[in-house]
């Protein structure tokens, strides 16, 4: 080996090893796209439900409000489950391709650091539903999810931090535009995920 490039190679090896061992790098851009598509479908379904509810007269509204609440809740659960399954699948495929183990210290740290803020937000949202306090649900989702992403960005590809900032910004905007909850939620969870996923795919996975 050429002696003049050896120390540089060594330093690059060291840097690579530090990155690889401390960050979960298999997170696939397609995971983001998948989650975004799930969110868009869910938002469209919720929109349809709300529209048909809005078309009812006052008396029928009174009788079907629990029904609406129940179906929105199911849609939300479906979106979450679909997004998680897709995110996991694409990341699993990527880790097979790159030959990096999917489950290790880095994955565990990433999950813990993102799920903790999300679980805290989740409890708050469940309590809001319980108290029939719906107006702040969308901004709470966006704010806590943004915080979770910023927190988790130290343990995976760092760019996810910007997705987190964007979600927090949308959440704050939502606090003053309370009636645009569904639209802002759709932008945050749908469109931003897809944009982020495509950018990450372009940057790291394109061959």
């Amino acid at each position: 080996m050429d002696t003049s490039s050896k120390p540089l190679d060594t330093l690059q090896d060291i840097k690579k090893m530090m990155e690889r061992s401390s960050r979960f790098i298999s997170l696939s851009g397609w995971s983001g796209v998948g989650a975004g598509v799930c969110a868009l479908i869910g938002a469209w379904m919720a929109h349809e439900k709300l529209a048909s509810f809005g078309g009812l007269d006052v008396e029928s509204r009174y009788y079907s409000v629990n029904n609406l609440e129940y179906s929105l809740f199911l849609i939300a659960l479906g979106v979450l489950a679909g997004a998680l399954v897709l995110a996991f699948t694409f990341t699993y495929i990527r880790s097979k391709k790159t030959g990096v183990a999917i489950w290790g210290t880095s994955a565990r740290r990433l999950l813990w650091n993102t799920f903790l803020p999300m679980a805290a937000g989740g409890v708050l949202i469940l309590k809001m539903i319980d108290l029939n306090f719906y107006t702040l649900i969308a901004p709470t989702c966006l704010l806590f999810y943004g915080v979770a992403l910023v927190n988790g960005s130290k343990y995976t590809l760092g760019e996810i931090r910007y997705l987190g900032y964007a979600q927090i910004l949308l959440g704050m905007i939502n606090c003053w535009l309370l009636h645009s909850g569904l639209i802002l939620w759709t932008i945050g969870f749908g469109i931003l995920h897809i944009v982020y996923g495509l950018v990450m795919w372009w940057k790291y996975e394109r061959e």
């Binding site: 003049s4 120390p7 530090m18 183990a101 210290t105």
Partner: protein, 99 residues
């Protein structure tokens, strides 16, 4: 003229040992299998390099169990951290003197 490589640590003169030290610098502890996957070497090869590092007191070994399976984790010692940082500084100096 000063010998430019006199500050380079002989112990770190192997890619495997450099890999082990780099991984341990940024992680509190790493177990044997994770290291093996990260560096991509055989059990025997990794074990012999770990032994050298351990003999130099650069790393600590903790033996434990997960269920019945042994789980050996490694972490860096203060001396190891210091030695590795000095090695990095020496590398940096070399690069500067070449540039």
């Amino acid at each position: 003229m000063k010998n430019p490589i006199e500050n380079l640590n002989k112990v770190f003169d192997s890619r495997v040992r450099l890999g082990i030290m780099s991984a341990l610098m940024v992680n509190e502890e790493v177990n044997f299998n994770e290291l093996k996957e990260l560096i991509g070497v055989t059990d025997g090869n990794l074990a012999s390099h770990m032994k050298t590092l351990e003999e130099n007191a650069y790393i600590k070994v903790q033996k434990g169990f997960i269920g019945r399976k042994t789980n050996t984790t490694y972490s860096i010692t203060k001396a190891g951290e210091k030695a590795f940082k000095q090695h990095l500084e020496a590398l940096e100096k070399m690069i500067r003197s070449l540039g």
